[in-house]
């Protein structure tokens, strides 16, 4: 198998400028792969999958029958990001996170941005993700979004756009670390030659980010998981283990004397910082959903009193609302007085009558998304839909316009994957991870998700997507990993 017959088909390709012409810097990996016999390449692909399966790096698909475990399909051809492109992304993401963090602090306190009319007040206060009981809240160091996973896509010109901010409990970073682990043994020589920047220190950086939230010099930090049946349980355990902190479930915790306590073999012990991987709704049955068995009754009171720090803070979902997304360029400008470095995809807000009309008249050209759903659920991809699907969706939009936004379809960039006995281009996105502690850190790498089905634009793991390792190249200097 060689790349000789690989076709870019007019898409922006992450590896080739055009048919037969590799992008600058990617030659070593192409030469390595071209130099392998097909069965050796496939053997490496299988070895990588086997390593991931044995490590239990698996996820459960919601609704699938119990015990249905899969590895996230993995393609061993890395996705390469050159140093200059990365430095733009890094600056753009830092700028964006700084502004969104100020925005959240503002809307739960002074609400200046609403008073100044930059964002419509009813859009914030009426949003399902707005948490009234966070009003007046000042989290430690005024940091709300400690961990972010921002979804980026490229269009046919190669421009990166922000597609979605994930400011609640973004998942997937364990794949970044584990995929890298596997790929280092898949292509060690190419890896060394290409000066790939390391991702291995993510857990350590995360731990430092969490420690920053406590006044104590050696705070008790835990990861709070919904439990083994959660689709991302592997990641929760992985991060706890790699950070050397305890992995707790709601039933391990109890509120005693205004403090959060762990039930241990020696009685109750105080917890200072919680990296919680439970959504706001399930965190505290006394404050949010009373039927939740996952959370800890009373934890919100402890949080409001400042006796425990939560990462991410409660209420951050208001800023990754798909309708608020349309205002993010204005939010950046408002708080930082800077132009956004990274553009967003033009977004039509269906609650606006004029914009809704435009969307309804051109449904076949838009991607329509439900504002409050993630994971590729509740979505209409106009160009790939039938007239009947569009008609049904139009009804939904008219019934609940606030629930929908629409974006023009973007011709996503592609990257080569192993498809049977040849290489084929498949659409990809990129999710870098950003930590906000003493300063803002963007992990040089990220999860490249790939729509493995031919022609598909949906990269979500719940919808048949897979992943690739992302190699961010360094600007010269010694190779490190």
């Amino acid at each position: 198998m060689r790349f000789d017959n690989y076709r870019t088909d007019g898409f922006y390709d992450e590896m080739f400028e055009s048919d037969g012409i590799p992008r600058a810097g990617v030659e070593p990996i192409i030469e390595t792969i071209n130099g392998l016999r097909p069965r050796d390449l496939k053997r490496r692909q299988r070895a990588a999958e086997y390593a991931l399966l044995n490590s239990g790096n698996t996820f459960n698909v919601y609704g699938a029958k119990e015990g249905a475990e899969k590895i996230l399909p993995f393609d061993i051809i890395p996705r390469i990001v050159p140093a200059n492109e990365w430095s733009t992304l890094e600056a753009g993401l830092k700028q964006r996170i700084r502004a969104l963090n100020l925005f959240i602090g503002d809307i739960y306190n002074e609400k200046k941005i609403l008073r100044d009319g930059v964002v419509p007040e009813e859009m914030i206060l009426g949003a399902e993700s707005y948490r009234k009981n966070c009003e007046g809240l000042r989290p430690p160091k005024d940091i709300w979004i400690h961990i972010t996973g921002t979804d980026l896509v490229r269009d046919e010109s190669g421009t990166f756009f922000v597609l979605e901010d994930n400011l609640r409990c973004p998942s997937g970073v364990s794949y970044v670390v584990e995929n890298r682990n596997v790929l280092k043994s898949t292509f060690p020589n190419a890896f060394r030659t290409m000066n790939v920047r390391p991702t291995i220190d993510y857990p350590d950086r995360l731990r430092r980010t969490l420690r920053h939230l406590s006044r104590k010099s050696n705070p008790r930090i835990i990861v709070l998981t919904p439990g083994v049946y959660n689709s991302a349980y592997f990641e929760h355990a992985f991060l706890a283990q790699q950070m050397g902190v305890e992995l707790a479930e709601g039933r391990d915790l109890v509120v005693v004397d205004d403090e959060l306590k762990l039930r241990t073999t020696r009685g109750f012990e105080t917890v200072d910082v919680v990296y919680r991987r439970i959504d706001d709704d399930f965190l505290d049955p006394r404050s949010f959903r009373s039927d939740s068995l996952l959370g800890v009754p009373g934890i919100m009171d402890v949080y409001r009193k400042g006796n425990v720090a939560l990462a991410n803070a409660v209420g951050t979902g208001i800023a990754d609302d798909k309708a608020i997304y349309a205002y993010t360029p204005r939010i950046i400008k408002y708080y930082l007085d800077e132009d956004p470095i990274l553009p967003i995809v033009p977004t039509y807000i269906c609650s606006d009558e004029k914009e809704r009309q435009h969307v309804l008249e051109n449904l076949d050209r838009f991607v329509v998304k439900a504002v409050n759903l993630s994971g590729g659920y509740g979505m209409l991809i106009g160009p790939k839909s039938t007239a009947a699907e569009r008609e049904a969706f139009a009804k939904k939009i008219k019934a609940n316009p606030r629930d929908f936004v629409a974006q023009p379809t973007i011709s996503l960039s592609r990257a080569p994957v192993i498809a049977g006995d040849r290489f084929a281009g498949r659409h990809v996105d990129l999710r870098p991870y950003i930590l906000y502690g003493r300063d803002i850190f963007v992990l040089p790498g990220g999860l490249t998700r790939v729509a493995l089905r031919e022609g598909s634009l949906v990269v979500n793991s719940s919808q048949g997507g897979g992943s690739k390792d992302t190699w961010v190249l360094s600007d010269g200097g010694p190779a490190n990993a």
Binding site: N54, V223, A237, E246, R263, T264, T265
Partner: protein, 326 residues
């Protein structure tokens, strides 16, 4: 450490130890039958079910204790909570819930072993199972080695060891109890070559044959009982298991005042074993002695649960899900 985590590590080790013991005595019985045929004795599969303590369940769901039925029941029957496949399934689920506490190597190993049992085990015919039982025993030993060398010997480690040793003491006691009474009445075999074959099988069922040989020149039933009950150095004897468990208990409870009830019960059990010998045990009835031992061992188990895992007074809600434990 977290009570839930301590409990999961404890049961993870108990279940792997249980699977190892099932694998060993099925394996030994498969071997024994080849010699038994030679001596014209009938097949003896029922005692295996009796030893496992699940004969009621077996009788409900199987017609007769044939080789095929018993092997299936003890090895691949997912409805039997103590079959090898069920033990590893529970061990793996417990391991999954404490992946941050045990080492990655331990988790990988348990995961791999379970996937191997699922994938290959079901396909094999009984004639091909011997290698499988060897793999199961090795998998258990491998886990012990990994715990020994890849995990700090911290509180979690001691809870794991406690679980393993309590399970092991229980299994040695059961095997001795059931086998001893099957073997003993066979007066027609006493001092015959077959007699020694049967006692050898008992020793092999507890992996004791070679070590017994070094301690005693002849295979004699009283010495066999003495070895399995009281030997100070053999790692499957009741005495050894209980006194090693007590050492782990000491580590777990270090500095706790007052010492939890579980620690006191375990010490009493060890003292009982120290204050008697095989002659008086046989004179007063081995079965009665083992019965009392197992009752007290159960009390230790219950006390461990209450002292370290339960925290009853503080539980404010029903746990969302409990791992299956027995």
């Amino acid at each position: 450490m977290l009570s839930r985590v301590a409990e999961a590590v404890y049961w993870m080790h108990r279940y792997v130890e249980r699977a190892e013991n099932v694998a060993r005595f099925v394996h030994v019985n498969l071997h024994l039958l080849l010699d038994a045929d030679h001596h014209g004795a009938g097949e003896q599969w029922l005692p295996l079910v009796t030893t496992s303590g699940d004969h009621e369940d077996f009788e409900k769901r199987y017609s007769r204790p044939t080789e095929r039925n018993v092997v299936k029941f003890l090895t691949f029957d997912t409805e039997n909570p103590n079959s090898i496949i069920s033990c590893f399934r529970v061990a793996r689920e417990n391991a999954r819930s404490v992946r941050d506490t045990i080492s990655s190597e331990m988790w990988n190993h348990l995961n791999q072993t379970y996937l191997m049992i699922e994938r290959e085990g079901r396909r094999r015919r009984i004639e091909d199972l011997q290698e499988f039982y060897t793999q199961i025993k090795n998998a258990s030993h491998f886990l012990v080695g990994l715990a020994e060398t890849t995990m700090s010997h911290n509180e979690a480690w001691h809870f794991g060891r406690l679980g393993r040793l309590i399970e092991r003491a229980d299994k040695t006691a059961r095997i001795l109890d059931v086998r001893y009474f099957i073997l003993l009445p066979g007066v027609e075999y006493v001092d015959s070559p077959y007699d020694s074959v049967l006692w050898t099988a008992l020793l092999k069922s507890t992996s004791a044959f070679e070590m017994y040989r070094k301690a005693h020149p002849h295979i004699h039933h009283e010495n066999v009982a003495d070895f399995l009950l009281f030997d100070r150095m053999f790692a499957r004897s009741l005495y050894w298991c209980i006194s090693a468990a007590e050492r782990s208990m000491d580590q777990i409870t270090e500095g706790m005042r007052p010492a939890p009830q579980a620690a006191a019960e375990l010490s009493t059990l060890r003292e009982t074993l120290e204050s008697t010998d095989v002659k008086s045990v046989l004179a007063n009835g081995l079965h009665e002695f083992i019965d009392t031992f197992q009752f007290n061992l159960n009390v230790v188990g219950v006390q461990i649960h209450q002292s370290f895992f339960a925290m009853k007074e503080a539980i404010t809600q029903v746990p969302a899900q409990m791992q299956s434990q027995g």
